[in-house]
């Protein structure tokens, strides 16, 4: 099962006023000042110069994107078959987060949103540990206390998001400022969506960044929809990037489905941190799948719109580019697909077999040292569990 209506199926039934179909902004990239290296077919179009990337880096970029797609399809299946509680698809947004995360150094801090599993992979997270996070197992780095797909691990300098959309933007800006104060060279990137730009914390963070110039990239993945709310109901501004103007935060739009453009834009933003501090990047992309496994986009968006964006799918685009460079062919593609599927299947089996958390473990990590209240409440739970064991209740 594909986690999104890739082909028009039954006629759409809307529960409110239907939204008009919006053609992909990428079709007018030059007019809209959306930085682009590749056209829809993966051919450099002269808009922006190709970044200096080795064959190995280009392959890593593509293979990570492809692996994210396989993970996403597997996650969707697991959710639909009742093995995972919840899923947040990343389909269509692979280039935006993989290419930007690849532009960061390993010591740089990443504040994730919820559609960026590729950032974890690039930092060296194993597939099993990733799926252990999806399954919320005790042995995963965050002890299974998150919704599936809210990923992170301090060992990788990746911080999981506070679930309230965009509420963590000032956390990233504050951390970046702290690094600057301490004289560290650490740089920061924080991911969020178009909807997050309406939150007060977006304003707080931009305002702070304009004044204090912390070394940070605000990476907005504008995927066209915040659940069912399209761009023109989210803002009257011409772009999300231009919101940076009022705060004097450097900003730009980039084709979020063009990994080379995203990589170049992120690298450039990082090169500017000493002088300019922050950059707000609006990566124009599209959510090909559902908002989450609890969503049904057939109720609010038209299949024609999705079909038009399929043409800008970052995976075939990057594959064609690699092929034209002579770095990739059908055999490599087939081998990689097989490898991804095998590795993901093995990771799922291993992660699913891991133990869930012990109930009493929920009392850990509220404070560094539990209060007497927590100690008492924990004892009470342990006594309950003991009784259950004895009585079989």
């Amino acid at each position: 099962m594909v986690n999104g209506p890739s082909t028009p199926s039954a006629p759409t039934v809307f529960l409110g006023q239907p939204r008009p179909v919006v053609a992909p902004l990428l079709e007018r990239a030059a007019d809209l000042a959306i930085a682009q290296v590749l056209d829809a077919d993966g051919v450099p179009n002269g808009n922006l110069a190709e970044p200096d990337l080795s064959q190995a880096q280009l392959r890593t970029m593509y293979e990570t994107m492809a692996l994210v797609r396989v993970i996403d399809e597997k996650g969707w299946q697991l959710q639909r078959s009742g093995r995972l509680e919840f899923w947040i698809p990343s389909r269509g947004q692979e280039a935006a987060h993989v290419a930007s995360a690849l532009a960061m150094d390993a010591a740089d801090w990443i504040f994730l949103a919820d559609r960026e599993p590729g950032a974890m992979l690039l930092r060296g997270a194993s597939l099993q540990s990733l799926f252990a996070q999806f399954f919320g197992r005790a042995g995963e780095p965050l002890k299974g206390r998150r919704l599936p797909l809210l990923l992170g691990d301090r060992a990788l300098n990746i911080i999981p998001c506070m679930t309230q959309v965009g509420a963590y933007l000032p956390h990233a800006a504050g951390a970046a400022w702290a690094a600057k104060l301490k004289g560290d060279k650490t740089r920061f990137i924080v991911y969020f969506g178009d909807g997050a730009t309406s939150r007060g914390e977006f304003h707080s963070a931009m305002n702070f960044a304009g004044i204090h110039r912390p070394p940070i990239v605000f990476f907005c993945q504008n995927n066209g929809w915040a659940v069912s709310t399209p761009t023109d109901r989210q803002t009257a501004a011409d772009s999300f990037a231009e919101k940076g103007d009022a705060y004097k935060v450097r900003n730009l739009r980039v084709d979020g489905n063009d990994p080379l453009a995203v990589f170049a834009a992120t690298k450039e933003a990082l090169a500017c941190t000493d002088e300019q501090g922050a950059t707000l990047i609006e990566a124009v992309t599209y959510r090909l799948g559902f908002h989450t496994s609890s969503d049904n986009p057939d109720l609010y968006r038209q299949p024609e719109e999705v079909a038009a964006w399929e043409r800008w799918d970052p995976l075939p685009r990057m594959r064609k580019y690699l092929q034209a460079c002579g770095y990739w062919d059908e055999r490599a593609e087939a081998q990689m697909q097989q490898r991804c599927e095998d590795e993901v299947r093995e990771a799922v089996t291993a992660a699913e077999a891991m133990a869930p958390s012990e109930p009493a473990a929920m009392f850990d990590d509220v404070f560094a040292e539990p209060t007497w209240q927590l100690r008492e409440q924990r004892e009470r739970l342990l006594a309950e569990l003991e009784t259950e064991l004895e009585t079989g209740a």
């Binding site: 911080i159 509420a167 000032p170 504050g174 970046a176 690094a179 104060l181 963070a205 560094a368």
Partner: protein
Amino acid sequence: MTQMTVLEALGAAMAHEMARDSDVVILGEDVGTAGGIFRTTQGLQQRFGPDRVIDTPLDEKGIAAHAVGMALYGLRPIAEIQFSGFIHDAFEQLMFGATKYRWMTGGQYSVPMVIRAPSFGGINGGFWHSQSPEAYYCHGGGMKIVVPSTPQDAYGLLLAAIRDPDPTLVLEPVPLYRTLRGEVNDDGEAIGIGEAAIVRPGNDLTALSYGPMCHDVLAVAEQMAENPGYDIEVIDLRSLMPFDVDAITASVQRTGRLVVVHEAPLSLGFGAELAATVQERAFGYLHCPIGRVAAPDLPYGFSGGDEYYRPNKARIAAAIRRAMEFDF
């Protein structure tokens, strides 16, 4: 030992920690150039520079949220909110951000930040400038809360809050800021969070309070002591989360009577938690129902009406008398 007002003691605690630990920073509205609207932070920006004493935009949510980020990276930020009536803009940041990172990351990250919030009424400042917001912030896990009522406690509890590895809210007693002066041992000694102070030992009734009300309760206890059988033990809680359950329980088991006094509204106020906890632990010792003296469930006072809204000495005395005279 130095004579200090509550304000001076708070300033001395911050100066001490900033000199000792370069990770301690202050951020808030008007905290730098102006030294804070109450002048609590005066002189600190000159001494420690504008990077460590940061004048922020007018944005309580942003102050709290950026402090969270600074703490995640390893600083120990002290965020000042000008009045606790304005703190709720930061509620989500505090109760779903600052207090949850440790838990939601399985202990990988912590947020050692302090939020200073001038609180309590009695200054005829109207609704927004007279708030007692403790109950909201005690609920839901992850926040420690201290409430000093003397210069020494202001000094020692703020030091403890800054050094604590978890988010700590300091509700400061605005009405005592400049009116209360006392000896402060300012040698860097913190007061343990969760330790109450027995302000007046007694045998016949336990009167429990925190913040500015402690002084009213103590005055009433001294007055009533002339009457035989009215030897009242006054306890200043000092910390609300966690609170000193052992000191309270031991006291009530000895006196058999409890009256709780706070100036936050009655319903679901902190007194409700204290009453429930004490009856669980000292039910067989109680000679009378637990009394609560609190503000009515209203917006704070009306112009010039603080004395009718806040618990006053007459109401405290009446509650004590009711407890002492109670007959099954």
